[in-house]
Amino acid sequence: MSGPIIQMDRVSRRFGKSVLAVENMSLAITEGEFVSFLGPSGCGKSTALKMIAGLLPVSAGTITITPPKGKSEQDLAFVFQEPTLMPWANVFENVYLPLRLAGVSRSEATPRVTAALTEVGLSRFAASYPRELSGGMKMRVSIARAMVTRPRIMLMDEPFAALDEMTRAKLNNDVVRLAKEYGLTVIFVTHSVFEAVYLSTRVIVMAARPGRVAADIAMETPWPRNEDWRVSPAFSTEARRVSETLKGTLHVDDIDH
């Protein structure tokens, strides 16, 4: 591990005149870290992520991303809450998109697209269309598309929120495996304490109105973890610790009655 790859310095984001989505957020993320942004709805997790991706301008403060050493088609990948696939294009074309936009020829890209699809277990589905795939498979295509440019940074905005528990657990393991294998720096937005605790090396708990960092918790258990750890007392202890912190950040009206 080396110096910070992403540095947020007193970053704020305002929508209109009255809504302060993120206020004075400062954070340094080191290369190879798996960081989760955890918090209730409306705490600015996704806004922060989109600002890091450059998809939303900051209202105040600065975000610095250390430039890569070598040449890369795309250094930063984004996985959305929905699979966000082009329904008119088959799986191959969807995964090829980032390379195509970077001007990589089809013949040069084919082995890379195939490798990315193999990584997510979908090499036999290259010719299928998104509508023919299940929710979990679509999300895997989305991950393959993010991985195809071999990025250093992967930003994931509640990618598995709409999936069933089994598929979510499977994809959690896939993401951790890929992050470990390729030394990715991951920022993973979630509202699930269990998901954040299982996946991350560090959990950033965010509070709402205005969105801000409420706690920065380093996970004690070595990373990556395996399925056995999910049912271990250590997992419960870590989850309780994060949960208590999260509870402390909630407003009374955030809790459903």
Binding site: F80, L97, R124
Partner: protein
């Protein structure tokens, strides 16, 4: 670097029962309308004979077919004229509608400035504008073409604008993230996203271009050799040649059906593999 890929997903088995059902449905999709139409024509023939309806009121289908054969050569010349007029106007409507739609979608100020003109053209009945166009334009064909174009243009314009604006916002973000050029964005995202609305507009505009062509000719009251089916209808009406009127009308209908079949086929070809509107599902 280890590459322990995860288990491959299994491909779905081919369902033969489903294939047979699809085949049956395809067969029924053309067989049912053919049977219904055949029954309707049969009843018409029988009713004309049974009630002794004179041919100057409602001719029997068999007489219309005879007229079609007898007057075939001259009617076909007129039909070809209408076909040319319809397809030229539709082609121009597509070119104009798509180009202007793309400009509108890219620039709000241009849209705000020009959209009222498009609406005025659309809401003013073509029969009201046609006499003016016929005065200003020397060539009758060009005048008729303009009239038919006015009718067919607006659906294409409006469909293109709505379509180009309907691209998924996350996909837009994705293209921004990957620094797509405006051309790449148009080619790989906006144009495919616009296809469903464009194809729906094309189906409407196809029919309207024929209506525009026929109405324009009625208004122009063109006569002579180089005229379309509408002129044949007017001419036959003056001479009380009702079977000939019906024969020309049948040709107009056939042309309309051909346009509908063609645009529906194009829509299925373009959208059938991905868009909800054209996907056939099992229930």
């Amino acid at each position: 670097m280890s590459t322990t890929s995860i288990t491959e997903e299994a491909a779905a088995p081919v369902n033969t029962e489903q294939l047979a059902r699809e085949r049956r449905e395809r067969l029924l999709s053309w067989l049912m309308p053919v049977i219904t139409l055949g029954a309707a024509i049969g009843y018409w023939e029988w009713a004309v004979w049974y009630y002794g309806i004179p041919k100057y009121l409602i001719p029997a289908p068999s007489l219309i077919v005879q007229t079609l054969i007898k007057d075939g050569p001259s009617l076909m010349v007129s039909a070809w004229f209408t076909v040319k007029l319809t397809f030229f106007s539709l082609t121009l409507a597509i070119i104009g509608g798509v180009l202007l739609g793309a400009v509108f979608a890219l620039s709000r100020p241009v849209e705000m400035s020009l959209f009222p003109f498009a609406v005025i053209l659309q809401v003013t009945p073509v029969v009201a504008i046609a006499p003016l166009i016929l005065i200003y334009v020397d060539s009758t064909f060009a005048a008729l073409l303009i009239c038919a174009w006015i009718v067919a243009f607006f659906p294409i314009l409006s469909g293109t604008v709505i379509g180009l604006r309907s691209a998924d916002h996350n996909l837009r973000d994705l293209f921004t993230l990957y620094r797509a050029t405006p051309w790449q964005r148009l080619r790989f995202l906006l144009a495919p996203s616009a296809l469903p609305q464009f194809m729906a507009a094309l189906k409407v505009a196809g029919g309207l271009s024929l209506i525009g062509a026929v109405v324009a000719e009625f208004v122009a009251g063109a006569a002579g050799q180089n005229t379309g089916l509408a002129s044949r209808i007017i001419e036959s009406s003056f001479r009380s040649e009702i079977p000939r009127m019906f024969a020309a009308l049948v040709l107009v209908s056939v042309l309309g059906i051909a346009i509908f079949v063609l645009t529906s086929w194009a829509s299925r070809r373009v959208l059938g593999h991905w868009h909800e509107s054209e996907i056939r599902r099992e229930h």
